[in-house]
Each structure stands twice: as structure tokens, then as C-alpha cells.
């Protein structure tokens, strides 16, 4: 692994000062499970790594009743999975977390890190798009909320500047009596693999109103919401196979899969149809069978 300096700030203030000092040669790390591999493979060659994992204040999952959940940068995927509130409110995200890497790596890999890696196959991104999560982006003197589609602008590319830190993820709690969801993906192997194609589908019900959301991963340069698919679902009271096919068609129009060593473009197109059907049908089944929460 190429040499780099490591700075382990005790708090955000120290981190910001460092970034402002060395901004062009610095990369941020939380869990580091992607970053260390990228450095090893020469995909990034930072002069300095600023390791946010030393900042204790970023370890929290904070539930703000009626508003949303605030997740610190250092919260590991396993802590998300084990958090009862997260499970109750954001089931598709939990399902995505559970397919990410393996049980040991999930002790290290963080949710915010997965978002900030911004890889096309990032498992947690499609459900977070459905839940309209926002990155909490801070500098030493500012703080803003940035919706994920505005944060992630390309493969491994984010829109924020070198002096900004995604300190938290904010997931708003929509008004709903029921939240169900599903994350379905194709991969070569059952465990510890990257998605070849992935679909997240969520459904909120509130006083009889239904709100479907749909997003895909590993099928385009960045994971995307498929609004046309959502429109079809939300305009229909009786979702049958025909509707599901129309939704799948809408998804196929919205994606640009590639051929690589993990899968062919043709396969990704074809399997997406199955994943859309499956995630949709799971959502509908769960809406019927699961006790309403919220």
C-alpha cells in the first residue's frame, strides 16, 4: 500500500482545520473498507487520510420522533441492522445492509461510508434513495442537507468540496401507518459479493394512501430512482402482472447497464425485470402480512 499520512482527529473541529490546511491531498475515511482497498489498488493515492473513525460524536444513531433519524458517519452496517427503530421504519435499507459484504466486514463498513464511496453497486444507496435520505454536509462554519441524488454525481464521485464532510445521514420519517420494503439483487455468489443488478422498492401507506418508491443499483453509473415506475404504481389501485411489467419496462428505459467481469449487459437487463417483479411482489405481500407500524 502506498505511503500516506494519517490524521485521527478527536473532534470535527480538528478534522475541518486539517482539511482546510491540506485540502487537495486529503481523503476522508470512516470504516475504510473501500478506501484501503482503493489505495492498495492505486485507485486513489492520497498524501493524507483523515480518519473520522476517531471522532466519538459521529458514532450515534439518533431518533428524532416525528422528524427523522440521524446516523453518524461512523455507524457500522451491523449497528444499523441491529437497531430496532431502523428495522421497523426502513426495512428495505435493512435488507440491503444484510446483503452487503459479510457479517464481519459489516462491523467495520459504515452506512455513510457506503454512500460516500458512491460506487454504482453500493447496496445501501437504492433504498436510501427511496427513503429520500439526505447527507448532512458540514464545513467548519456551515451545515447543509444534500439529497443523495445531488451528492452522488458519478461513479465514486461526489459533488461536495474537499473541505466538506458528510458527518451524518438524515433519513426523514414520512407520515405513514405502514412502511414495508424490499431490496432484491442479483449476485454471483450468496455472500460477500457485489450486486450485478439491484432493485429497492418501498411502500408507505397512510390512511389508505399508498406511496411507492423504486430505485435501482449497479445498472447505471449511479444508483437512480425510477420515477416513471413509481408513477405507474402510485396511479394504480390494483397492481397485477401487467402493471408489474409496465413498471419493469419503465425501469429498463431508465438504466444503462454495462458488460464487465461480473455480468453481461444482456443479463443485467433481463434479470432486472425479475428483480422488479420480485421486489414489488414482496412489498405487496409484506404490506398484507406485516403488522402495521409507525
Amino acid at each position: 500500500m502506498k505511503a500516506f499520512d494519517l490524521f485521527r482527529p478527536k473532534d470535527l473541529f480538528q478534522a475541518f482545520s486539517r482539511l482546510e490546511l491540506n485540502q487537495h491531498e486529503t481523503v476522508l475515511k470512516s470504516g475504510g473498507t473501500d478506501l484501503l482497498i482503493w489505495i492498495k489498488k492505486g485507485l486513489v493515492s492520497p498524501k493524507e487520510v483523515v480518519d473520522l473513525s476517531s471522532i466519538d460524536s459521529l458514532n450515534e444513531i439518533e431518533v428524532k420522533e416525528g422528524e427523522g433519524i440521524l446516523i453518524g458517519t461512523n455507524v457500522s452496517l451491523n449497528r444499523i441492522i441491529d437497531h430496532p427503530e431502523m428495522k421497523r421504519r426502513f426495512p428495505a435499507l435493512i435488507e440491503a445492509c444484510e446483503t452487503h459484504s459479510d457479517a464481519v466486514l459489516r462491523n467495520k463498513a459504515t452506512l455513510v461510508g457506503n454512500v460516500c464511496s458512491a460506487v454504482p453497486s453500493g447496496d445501501t444507496i437504492p433504498p436510501l434513495l427511496c427513503y429520500e435520505a439526505e447527507a448532512v454536509v458540514q464545513t467548519s462554519c456551515s451545515k447543509r442537507h444534500l439529497p443523495l441524488p445531488r451528492l452522488i454525481i458519478g461513479p465514486r464521485k461526489k459533488s461536495i468540496s474537499k473541505t466538506e464532510i458528510v458527518t451524518h445521514l438524515w433519513i426523514p420519517l414520512p407520515k405513514a401507518d405502514l412502511s414495508v420494503g424490499a431490496y432484491r439483487r442479483a449476485s454471483r455468489r450468496r455472500a460477500l459479493d457485489l450486486a450485478q443488478a439491484a432493485v429497492a422498492c418501498t411502500l408507505f401507506q397512510h390512511r389508505g394512501e399508498r406511496d411507492f418508491r423504486l430505485a435501482v443499483g449497479a445498472l447505471s453509473p449511479i444508483p437512480v430512482r425510477v420515477s416513471e415506475g413509481e408513477r405507474i404504481l402510485n396511479e394504480t389501485s390494483n397492481i397485477d402482472e401487467k402493471i408489474a411489467d409496465r413498471v419493469a419496462d419503465a425501469v429498463l428505459k431508465a438504466i444503462q447497464p454495462i458488460t464487465d467481469v461480473r455480468g453481461s449487459r444482456e443479463f443485467r437487463f433481463a434479470v432486472t425485470v425479475e428483480l422488479v417483479r420480485e421486489s414489488l411482489s414482496l412489498c405487496l405481500t409484506r404490506a398484507k402480512t406485516e403488522e402495521g407500524c409507525y
Binding site: 455480468g263 443479463f267 434479470v271
Partner: protein
């Protein structure tokens, strides 16, 4: 064993605690990478070719040499030696010409791994690209691109048959009977094509080697993650023109081999540094990171088989015509032999009177093929056992009845003409058939899945030169403990456990008082190689003989000492007894320091038993016909059945149950046999489901690490493997036992392929059976109805 008058609770067939397991679970066992060499140690890293074929125009190491800590940059011209086990076609560092993407073109030696790692980027190499040949069928037909234009000048052993002026590194033939006449008399002819890709061994320990030259003597010591210290020593000595006793090879424990550490792998490359004048006798370490393993050492050869079979209306196979192309990459030095192995087993487990086989090792500009668990047989049987199912269906016969009707029963000639020895294959097949409930159509266990069952038979002989020899020493110590010197590499298969059980069986010494150590060519007596499922059998012969020799010495001394007949002495759990005279004592200092005999003189001294073995009567097959009265020492046979189900919707294969049985002759260590069957079965299933090297059009390996070269995890193994064995004794064998280490890996893939066909009605002609491949076959716009060649 009353005729031996030896009693032990820890002998053959007993459950014992495996040797070295305690060190392994405690983390204290030192593998090559764990050995300390102090501050003197230097580190080597290769500069690798970025093109698959081309001329090296120039190499400029000056910038690299200027980096502080860089000690030397070595190029092929500094080390102009060719090496190879069967055919010397491999330069450790390319000279003038590169032949595959990833081939070492220079070696940087530095004081730290990090410096070496960064310095390789500063060795400037200019290439002139040449056309590369990546497709094996093209390489065979088209001599316009030759991987080895100098093939005719390469040294080789007599039983390897390269074809200079072509890309054929070895051509093995079987010609028996009249194949055209057989086809003319057949009522049904089928011809099928099957393909397997190159695959990786996937051992967890990557290669590691440390080499050091003594500046006083010039002698060399090599520590290496090698399966066979003596093979490494001989190949190095021959390649360098040194005497064998100038080279000492030490093999610390290795973290899995599966053939990938057989013969010589990275040792010569490491030596190119240790022998360089600038190194001045310092030890040099070459550690291969995971992403370079497949570029540094063997992979399993890719394989394309065309099998034509003629069958009578009674269901008898009258003739078979085989063409096998093994893609051996840029070197056939080892890969030439799996080609033979598949060739001289090319009728599988069947008796077929008329045989025509051409088995070729074909050079391409890809990483090189070599030994891999099964040694040509998993490739062969991945095709053969599928073709047998296709044939049975075509003639409307039950696949198992068809197999049994044509079975290579004891006494019938194999395809090389040697009579098949006794075995229990038919019994095994019937047991597998019953236990998997082969003839019962069962409902799928998962919604939306289709269930199927498949069977495949397995066969393999130890593939080795006729004169592969072994020797062993058993030393008795002052306190009645014993040390066994046997240069087998115990790479997890449990050889040392088996040997200790053998010595316990012969000397009555308790198992835990018997010690073995890892191979060192300076202290251990000779053994050819730890390969070919031969060790428990061939080295077993030597170990048993050595233990028997020690026992005979001991009995003779006690007979004289006690003034009794040898037949009146018994050995029991570490003691010696003469019930007739009511004498007994535990083994002790006399075994080392001599016996005070009745005549008042000391007699004896340290008891050292000696054993050796070489098979007496193996004759290499005839070059033109492949016929031989005894082409191999023996065959181990078996069968595997898989109950699986497949989702047409997702392409997923789920396995419900596996039943597998082999005729092991005699189970020396049941715990190890079960381990070999379970491990090989999962390795075979993993290969069938996931594995294959993928190259781009320029010959770049795209899945060189575990991120993209997927092997089975524990998540895949959510099914039981019901393993069993039969014990039809082998005549020439220490205890009737024969090899079983590789056999479990041979036929999981075709059994799974047959199960998938049974479930879906789609025949896959290419491995692996990835989820994508199955999904595309069932979902494609023109969904596959019968045969899938994609």
C-alpha cells in the same frame, strides 16, 4: 494383527487427533511467510508484462536502481536458465520475448517490501507487440502465431511428445481396435462438445519463497511453500546445472496445495535474485500477493472435448473417438502430464473395445496450466459423464443401467489395455442410487424451483512417471518414542497422521509418542512428490517397511537379550512382552543405547528402520497406440449423486443433498478420508457453480483476486454430504489402501450438470453453471430448449 504380535489402540482405521492440528488452532504453526529472517532479509517483486505477446525492445532499470533501498534489478538475461518438470519450456524471467500478460520481465530486489513494490513502477520496459493467440482451437489449427518457435530445442522426458512448428506441447494417443468399423456397426452415434475454463486452486496461502546462497560455498538454501522438496531440488539443479547436494530445499507447512504448489513454481524466480552478485548472500523473499497468484503459478488447464460414441442397440458402447484440447497457456512443463492422464483414462469408468483418442496440450498466450487436484480427470469426467447421460437418453436407457452395462468391471481392459483390478464400483453406484433416491421424482423444497438428480462416476490413477520412488526412516528414541522421516508435505490431507498410525500399527508405539516433521531435503530421505493421491500409498509402503525394519531389529535384539524366540515376543502399546517367560518392559534406553547381552557385551545402538518403494512393473504407454501391460499402478473409483433444484426465474441452483462414495481399499484415517471427500466435493461444486478465469480480448486476466474470482463460501454449503467408502484391498499396497485425495473433486461438476438437466431439460455444454448462464438460458428471447453452448 496377531501374526505380527503387535497390539495398539492407535493403529490403522482408528480415530486419532490429527498431527499439527493443535499448532494450527493455536496459530503457532509457522508457514513460509511466517518465518523470521532478521534484518538481513531482502524482498523481491516482479515487473510484469502489460501485453500478452511481444518483443522486449529494452529494459531500463536506472530510475528504479536509483531509489534508496533498491539493491538490484534482475532481468532475464541475468538468469538465462530454462526449467521444467517434464518439458523445459519455462524461463522464470522473460528473455527477449513476453508470452503472456503478467509474465515477469524483471525482478526488483529491495530492503523492504514497500520499496520493492514502488520501485517496480520505475523499471522502464519498451515492448513491440506481436499477435497473440488466446483461443485454443485457433492455436491448434493456425501455426502462424507460435507461442514457442524454439520448441524443438527444449529438453523433455521421453514420454512427452511435443510437435515443433505447431502450438502443441504434448500429444498423447490411444489407438485400439478399429474405430471406424465400430461406428459402422453402431446403431446410434452421438457426438458432443464440452468445455471447461481455466480455474484457480484458490488455496488460502499464496506462494512464498525465501532463497539464500552461502557466500562461502555457493550452496543454496530455499524455503518454499512447495508440495515436493525433492522435485524443487531436482528441477533447480537440472535447470542451473548444479549438483543436487548444492541445494537444500526446506518446505514449511503449506496452506493448501491442490497441485498448485507441485513441481517447481516460483522458486527459480526467487533464486534469480539470491544468486545475483549484488545480493552477496543475503536471503531474498518472494511473496506472491493474491492478485498475482494466477499469474505466477499453475492454473487448471482449460479443456475442450469432442467425444464421439457409437452404441449398439443393446446399449453397449462399441467405440469412442476423443479429441481433447487442453489449453496449457505458455508452458506445458507440467501441464503436459494431465493431458496424458486424461488420455490414458479416456474411456472413463467404461469398457469400450475400440478407442481413438487424441489428447493435446495446446500453447496459448495465457497464464500457464499445470497440476490441479484431479489432474486432467475432472476435465475429462466433466465431459464424459455428461456424454454418458446424453447417450443413455438418446437410446432410451436408464442412465445408471447404461453405466453398469458398460462398466469397466474387474479384469476388463482399460483403454491402455491393462486389466482393471478388483473394485466395488457397482456396489457403490447402487448405494449412491438408493441413498439419493435417484428413481424417485421428489417435489422441490423451494417455491418456484425445479428439482433434479444427477449421478456421475469417478476414476483416477496416480499420474506420475513409472519410476516415482519414495523412502522413509523410522528412528526409535531413548524413551521409546519414535520419529518418522517422510518427505511428504502434509498440506492438510493428514499424511502425517496416517504415517503415525502406520508406525503405531507396526511397532505398537502409541500414536501420540510418534513425531513427524515437515520436509527438508537435507534431513529427509527421498520422495518424488506429494501429488497424485500417491502418498498414503507409495510413501505408506516406505513408512510401513521402515517401521517393520525397526521392529525386526528390535525383536532380534530382545530375542537375544531375553534368550527367547522372536515369535515369543509381543509388542503392545509401547511395551515389549514375552508372556511365555513372564517378561515385560516398556520401551526405553536400550532402543538407543544398546542391549547388555547375556555374553556381557553391549549390542545394538540406535534403532533406525529404513524403507523404500518404487512400483516394479509400470510401463509407459506406447507412443503410437497408448497401449501398455501396466500403464499405471492402480485406479481408485467412485460415484457421486447430487439432488439439486434450480430456479428458472433467478437462475439459482440450490443443492439439497450429496451422496458420494469411493473405493479406498482400506481406510487408514477415517477422519481424513471424510475430510478429503467433503472438501473435494465442495471444491468441485464450487468449480461447477462459479469458477473460471476470464480474459479480455487482449489476454488480460479480469478476475485475478477473490473480489472477482469467486469460490464457495460456507453460505453455499447448506446441504449434507453423505460420504462413505468401500474397502476392496489393493494388492500392492501397505494396507490395501489406495489414493482418494483427488477423487472427490473429479465428478461433482458433471453430477450437478446432470441434475440441472434433469430439473430443467437444458443441457449445459460449458462450465461453470453460473446463475447468469442458467438465467440467460431460461430467459433469453430465444429461450434454450435443449442444448446450451453459451
Amino acid at each position: 494383527m496377531s501374526d505380527k504380535r503387535v497390539y495398539t489402540d492407535t493403529g490403522i482405521g482408528k480415530k486419532v487427533e490429527r498431527k499439527f492440528d493443535r499448532e494450527k488452532v493455536a496459530g503457532t504453526l509457522q508457514y513460509t511467510d511466517d518465518l523470521p529472517f532478521g534484518k538481513d532479509l531482502l524482498y523481491a517483486r516482479p515487473v510484469r508484462s502489460p501485453i500478452a505477446s511481444g518483443i522486449i525492445r529494452s529494459i531500463d532499470p536506472r530510475k528504479a536502481c536509483a531509489i534508496p533501498g533498491v539493491v538490484a534489478v534482475i532481468t532475464g538475461k541475468d538468469f538465462p536458465y530454462r526449467f521444467g518438470l517434464y518439458l523445459k519450456d519455462r524461463n522464470p524471467i522473460a528473455i527477449d520475448r513476453v508470452r503472456y500478460m503478467g509474465e515477469p520481465v524483471a525482478l526488483v530486489v529491495a530492503t523492504t517490501e514497500a520499496i520493492a513494490d514502488s520501485a517496480i513502477e520505475h523499471v522502464k520496459v519498451e515492448y513491440e507487440a506481436l499477435p497473440a493467440v488466446l483461443d485454443v482451437e485457433k492455436a491448434v489449427c493456425d501455426p502462424s502465431v507460435l507461442v514457442h518457435p524454439d520448441l524443438e530445442h527444449y529438453k523433455r522426458v521421453p514420454f512427452i511428445n511435443p510437435q515443433p512448428g505447431t502450438n502443441i506441447g504434448n500429444w498423447f494417443k490411444i489407438r485400439r481396435g478399429d474405430i471406424e468399423e465400430a461406428f459402422a456397426q453402431s446403431d446410434t452415434i452421438i457426438e458432443e462438445k464440452m468445455e471447461c475454463p481455466q480455474i484457480a486452486h484458490g488455496f488460502l496461502e499464496t506462494h512464498c519463497c525465501i532463497a539464500k546462497q552461502d557466500i562461502g560455498t555457493g550452496n543454496i538454501t530455499v524455503w518454499s511453500s512447495a508440495q515436493s522438496v525433492f522435485a524443487v531440488r531436482e528441477i533447480l539443479a537440472e535447470g542451473l546445472g548444479l549438483s543436487t547436494n548444492a541445494i537444500r530445499v526446506i518446505a514449511p507447512p503449506i496452506g493448501g496445495g491442490f497441485g498448485g504448489k507441485a513441481g517447481m513454481t516460483i522458486e527459480a524466480l526467487c533464486l534469480s535474485a539470491a544468486l545475483h552478485p549484488a545480493i552477496k548472500g543475503r536471503p531474498v523473499k518472494l511473496f506472491v500477493p493474491r492478485e498475482e497468484v494466477m499469474l505466477s503459478s499453475w492454473v487448471r488447464q482449460a479443456y475442450i472435448a469432442t467425444i464421439k460414441m457409437g452404441i449398439s442397440k443393446e446399449g453397449k458402447i462399441l467405440g469412442i473417438k476423443n479429441t481433447f484440447y487442453f489449453d496449457t497457456g505458455i508452458s506445458a512443463e507440467y501441464g503436459a502430464n494431465p493431458v496424458r492422464s486424461a488420455g490414458y483414462t479416456s474411456t472413463g469408468t467404461y469398457y469400450i473395445p475400440n478407442v481413438w483418442t487424441d489428447s493435446y496440450a495446446v500453447y496459448t498466450n495465457k497464464p500457464f496450466g499445470g497440476a490441479y487436484r484431479g489432474f486432467g480427470l475432472p476435465e475429462l469426467m466433466s465431459a464424459m459423464e455428461v456424454v454418458i447421460d446424453i447417450a443413455a437418453k438418446k437410446i432410451g436407457m436408464h442412465p445408471i443401467e447404461f453405466r453398469i452395462k458398460n462398466l469397466l468391471q474387474p479384469g476388463l481392459p482399460t483403454c491402455t489395455g491393462m486389466p482393471m483390478s478388483e473394485h466395488a464400483l457397482e456396489k457403490i453406484i447402487r448405494k449412491v442410487q438408493a441413498d439419493i433416491r435417484f428413481d424417485e421424482k421428489e417435489k422441490p423444497l423451494r417455491e418456484g424451483f425445479k428439482r433434479g438428480k444427477g449421478i456421475a462416476l469417478a476414476i483416477k490413477a496416480p499420474a506420475k512417471p513409472a519410476d516415482a520412488a519414495s523412502s522413509a526412516i523410522v528412528k526409535l528414541n531413548v524413551d521409546g518414542t519414535a520419529e518418522v522421516m517422510a518427505a511428504t508435505m502434509d498440506m492438510g490431507q493428514g499424511a502425517y497422521t496416517a504415517y503415525a498410525q502406520m508406525v503405531s500399527e507396526e511397532l505398537g508405539i502409541p500414536y501420540d509418542r510418534i513425531r513427524l516433521d515437515y520436509p527438508d531435503s537435507a534431513t529427509h530421505p527421498y520422495d518424488w512428490q506429494t501429488v497424485a493421491s500417491r502418498s498414503c500409498w507409495a510413501m505408506g509402503m516406505a513408512v510401513k517397511e521402515a517401521a517393520t525394519d525397526a521392529r525386526n531389529q528390535l525383536l532380534a535384539l530382545y530375542a537375544e537379550y531375553w534368550k527367547v524366540k522372536e515369535e515369543e515376543i509381543f509388542l503392545k502399546n509401547g511395551s515389549v512382552l514375552c508372556p511365555k517367560k513372564n517378561l515385560s518392559e516398556t520401551f526405553g534406553p536400550k532402543l538407543q543405547n544398546g542391549f547388555p547381552m547375556p555374553d556381557g557385551k553391549l549390542k545394538g545402538g540406535p534403532i533406525i528402520g529404513r524403507g523404500r518403494f518404487v512400483p516394479e512393473d509400470v510401463v509407459n504407454p506406447d507412443a503410437e497406440t497408448g497401449q501398455s501391460p501396466k500403464s499405471v499402478v492402480h485406479f481408485t473409483v467412485g460415484a457421486i449423486a447430487i439432488d439439486a433444484e434450480v430456479s428458472e426465474r433467478t437462475g439459482e441452483i440450490a443443492i439439497n443433498r450429496v451422496v458420494a462414495g469411493y473405493d479406498v481399499g482400506k481406510a487408514i484415517s477415517p477422519i481424513n478420508i471424510q475430510g478429503q471427500i467433503e472438501g473435494g466435493t465442495v471444491q468441485g461444486i464450487s468449480a461447477a457453480l462459479f469458477e473460471g478465469l476470464v480474459f479480455d480480448a487482449q489476454g488480460k486476466l479480469l478476475n485475478k483476486d477473490f473480489t472477482d474470482y469467486k469460490i464457495a463460501t460456507i453460505e453455499e454449503v447448506d446441504f449434507p454430504i453423505e460420504s462413505f467408502w468401500e474397502e476392496t484391498p489393493e494388492e500392492v499396497s501397505p494396507y490395501g489402501n489406495r489414493g482418494v485425495g483427488e477423487h472427490s473433486m473429479i465428478s461433482p461438476a458433471p453430477a450437478l450438470n446432470n441434475a440441472v438437466y434433469n430439473a430443467l431439460g437444458i443441457r449445459f455444454h460449458r462450465y461453470p453453471l453460473t446463475r447468469e448462464r442458467i438465467f440467460m438460458a431460461t430467459h433469453a428471447k430465444k429461450a434454450v430448449t435443449e442444448d446450451c453452448y453459451d
